[in-house]
Point group: C2
Chain length 133, copies 2
DNA sequence: CAACGCACTTGTGCATTGCAAGCCAGCACG
DNA sequence: CGTGCTGGCTTGCAATGCACAAGTGCGTTG
């Protein structure tokens, strides 16, 4: 691997420093999605070649695991590994910042308040159940 | 502005969903840099046209403020606004994740420990003084 | 006032991305 | 068994983004 520096932020950006990767991780981590077609139908409208490339990359870097569906063997299931789940705190801080700085945010102040008052509880709930919108 | 969705993560990625923007914010927020030439000399080696474009964008979006240096009026000083400083928690979580997942990380476990045991204190210190490496 | 440094701007070529279309394997149905 | 449909990609091509090099204008310095 050809690294730009040993800064952990630079390291992280080499994984998700683009317009799509974190949205895929959001969908897997918080939105309860796990199939290719579900991931393809996000509000933002990711292109299919980009999604395929990102999933391959995330799998290769150990962020997600790919499994065959036991019911329908055409279908794949994508799941976060531990390293992937560990990105939830990053997502939470981004959501808090976005909610505080975007007038039209879909996330309200109650999420922000919970992140401030019961951060550990929130993180545990998200890791177990996702956002449950 | 042409938004992809009202998800706060998508909103945030429209600001820093690329390979360079967060590194610029890191240098301003944590590395104590404020001049164009300092920012240009990061370990990662950002190109000058990219840096100029990102600074203009960050200023327009209210993340940084551009001031003239009072000593040398050729020189500009770039400083984070409140909205910019509010990105420090995001940076911290990324650093923690990077330090935990990169074998060759330049940040050691003592940062991670402090983030777990005294998060509020760490955030206050970083906001006031940066990383002080 | 000549030379230099700072903060850019412009130009060019290559790499990455976005969008549309096509492809193939695995079901589902008759 | 054939026909069609669905899920998960792959390919082709245009558009965008990035890297590298060079040049510009203004302010400071010798």
């Amino acid at each position: 691997m050809n690294r730009r520096s040993h800064c952990p932020i630079s390291f992280a950006l080499e994984l998700f420093g683009d317009r799509w990767t974190l949205l895929v991780i959001r969908d897997l981590a918080l939105m309860g999605k796990s199939s290719y077609t579900d991931l393809l139908c996000s509000d933002e409208g990711i292109a299919t070649n980009i999604l395929a490339e990102r999933l391959a990359r995330l799998e290769q870097r150990g962020i997600i695991r790919k499994e065959r569906d036991t019911q329908d063997r055409r279908r794949s299931r994508y799941r976060l590994t531990e390293a992937g789940l560990d990105l939830i705190p990053v997502l939470v801080e981004i959501i808090v910042w976005g909610a505080n700085n975007d007038d039209e945010s879909a996330i309200g102040p109650e999420f922000v308040r919970e992140a401030e008052t019961d951060r550990a509880g929130l993180l545990a709930r998200l890791r177990a159940d996702g956002l449950q919108l």
